[in-house]
Every structure is written in C-alpha cells, then in structure tokens.
Subunit: 223 residues, 2 copies
C-alpha cells in the first residue's frame, strides 16, 4: 500500500521527450521555480525552454525563479551571456563554488525533478512528489543557496571568458576605430559587428561603451 503510493508519487522517466510529455505541464505551475545545475548544457530539446519562458512571462504575478549554478556555467562566452540574460529577465541567479548534482528542479517547493547523468545519450529523470523527500531536497537546495554568491557579485571581479573574435573587437574598439572601419577590417558586415559589440557590452555589464572600455581595461582584456 504505502509502497504503491510511493511508486505513484515517484515516477522515473527516460529521455527528455518522455519528460516533457508526462511532466511538461509541471513547468507551467504558477508557483516558484528553483533549479540547480552544474552548467548550462541542459534542456537540449529544441524550443521547449523558449516555450516555458514565454508561458511563464504571461503569468501574473510572475513567479520568482531561483537558479543555482556551478562556475562552469560561466566557462564560455555563450553560456555566460545566457546566464546574464536570465538574471536580467528577473530570475535570481547564484553561483556555488562546490560541485552540484547534474540537475535538480523544484517546482513550487512541492515537486522535485532529479536528473541523472546521460547514459548512452539518454538522461533519466525522477519526478518526486513524496513530501518527505521533496522537503529534504528543498532544504538542501536552500542551504546551498545561502552559501552561494549572487551572480552579479561573482562576476564583479572576474573577467568574462571571451572568444578570440571578441578580444579582437575589443582591440579595435580600443584603437578608437569607428564601427564602419572596424567591421571592414574584420571582413564582417556592419550589422554583425554591432551585434557582437552589443553582446560584449552585455558580458561586461556595461550600459555604455565608455563603461565597457573601463571594464575591459580593469579586467586586462586589452593589452
């Protein structure tokens, strides 16, 4: 009896497709949303994440999202930018220096989804509803959250990882070249060049090019 209840409450799903099919609606919960992961290489299934984000944006009031990551989530330029954009979108993001499990998601502090490592390309997801287990997971999450540092603080004194291209752009900007000239020298259309510059500004938390120059020099990203 008690066992069948547990079987019912804790479901094991294999692969993202099955997860979405069987538990997708969970992500639309009106309540809070917490998530811990070691990096940004998750939710590979195309389009689904965007769909969730769009749905959640519609909800009023927008539930707060708590995101906890290992520093690996800032390892490359693209990941870091995504993280920054998540934070700008209103999520509370923290970085935790200690290793995190592959992925843990908590919906409304009532349901937990624990993801295992990929096995032969397929990841295993355990949807946990048992109040006792969830409570444990939640308190673990909360404890880790408390010791973690805010994304903004963490990034304040740590230069972003930049691609070679970005560093080249920084050098051209530092040379005082106009966008037109810099783009030409890189053999790159103006529109793309400006996209790159805008992305770099995001990574540097800069609201203006002046500020970006400041940070770039501060982080020693030039000479």
């Amino acid at each position: 009896m008690a066992m069948s209840v547990d079987l019912d409450r804790n479901v094991v799903l294999r692969g993202e497709a099955e997860l979405i099919e069987r538990a997708g609606r969970l992500f639309l919960a009106r309540g809070d949303f917490a998530c811990a992961a070691k990096d940004m290489n998750t939710w590979a299934l195309p389009g689904f994440r965007e769909w969730i984000v769009a749905e959640r944006r519609r909800t009023r009031p927008m539930p707060t999202a708590h995101k906890l990551y290992s520093p690996e989530a800032l390892a490359d330029e693209e990941s870091e930018r995504r993280l920054v954009e998540i934070a700008q979108a209103g999520a509370r993001v923290r970085i935790c220096p200690t290793p995190l499990p592959h992925e843990t998601i908590i919906v409304d502090w009532k349901i937990a989804i624990l993801a295992g490592p990929p096995e032969r390309g397929v990841r295993e997801y355990t949807v946990v509803r048992s109040p006792g287990v969830v409570k444990g997971v939640v308190s673990l999450f909360r404890a880790t959250w408390e010791t973690a540092t805010d994304l903004a603080d963490f990034r304040r004194d740590r230069p972003p990882a930049l691609t070679e291209e970005s560093r080249r752009i920084l050098r051209l900007l530092g040379g005082g070249l106009k966008d037109e000239a810099a783009a030409r020298r890189l053999g790159m259309p103006l529109r793309t060049y400006r996209r790159r510059v805008a992305e770099i500004l995001t990574l540097l938390d800069a609201d203006s090019r002046f500020q970006a120059g400041l940070r770039a020099q501060e982080f020693g990203l030039i000479g």
Copy 2:
C-alpha cells in the same frame, strides 16, 4: 662703430604692447618658428596670439613650429589641452625635464627674442639680430630639443591633471549614465556637459568614448 651696430641689432623693448608694435611683424615671417618656455602663461596680451595663428595658417606652405616646454606646461587641465591642440594643429611639441628660461623665441633661425621675467608687471624683451648671438641661441635650442621627449610620448604614461569636475564627469560616465541623466545630476545644461566630455576625450587622446574609458581606467582616474 661695432658697438653702434650691436645697439642697432639688439633692441630692448619693455612690455608686450611695445614688443608687438615694434616687432610684431616678425611673427609673420614665412620661415620656421621655434619657441621655448617654461609654461603656457605667456602672451597675455589678448587676441594677439590668435591673430598670429590665423595669419600663419594662411601661409603656404605652413612653416613648421617647434615648441619646447617644461613639464609645468601640463600642470593644469587647461594648459595641457591647449598644448594638445597646438600639437594637433601641426606644431612639433616636446617636453624638456630640465628648467627652461622664461621664454625664448626664434624666428626663421635668424632672429631671437629673449623674454626676461616680469619686473613690476612689465616684462623686458630683447630682440637679437646679431648672427653670432642668434647662432648660439639656436644651437642651444637645438641641443635642448634633441634631449627633450615628444609630447605624445611624454603624455603616454602620464595621466592628465583633471579638475574635480572632470573627475566627477568620469565617474558618471563610468556609471553608465546617458548624457541627459549625467548633466541633470550635475545641474548642468546638456550642451556644456558634452563640451566637458569632449574636452576630457581630448586630454585622454581618445577618439571614442570606449577608448576614453580604457585610458581613464588605465590611469586610475576612476576608483
């Protein structure tokens, strides 16, 4: 005999008005123009300098001007900016660490004007035409010129002296504020704010605000 020749050739004039009246035309010589002074506080007579500059700009080809100053010429923001503008206008400017005489002007390497220190507010100018004396002055000038360092080099690793206002503007720029907001916070009209920013860019040898941010941080003008 020889004495009267020398009297004729070396004229002593008192005060700038007399200098301009009796020797003003010398400054319009088509030939080269060299000048050594310890700072920029010279040629106080209003308008005259501008007149010379305008006249010389008309001459083709424009004679090269050699300007030699002590580091005091960069002591304050205004002097430094004027110096930079002189250099941008095509004059060759060098800074000489050793003390320079009050002021020495050489026209076309043929006539020298030596200015003494102000006595009771009036400065004494000696216009020298004797070839021997001029030759001596010229070779002195040339020797000093050779040991002096170019303005650009001198300024490269030396932060400009900034007023408190300029530093406040730098902080606002570093805060990522738009011109509109920054000007409002300083209680300053937009036009004036932008004038100040442009002046600061000149002092920092920056062609863009990004570059200015770079330099400002490099010189530690922010934190």
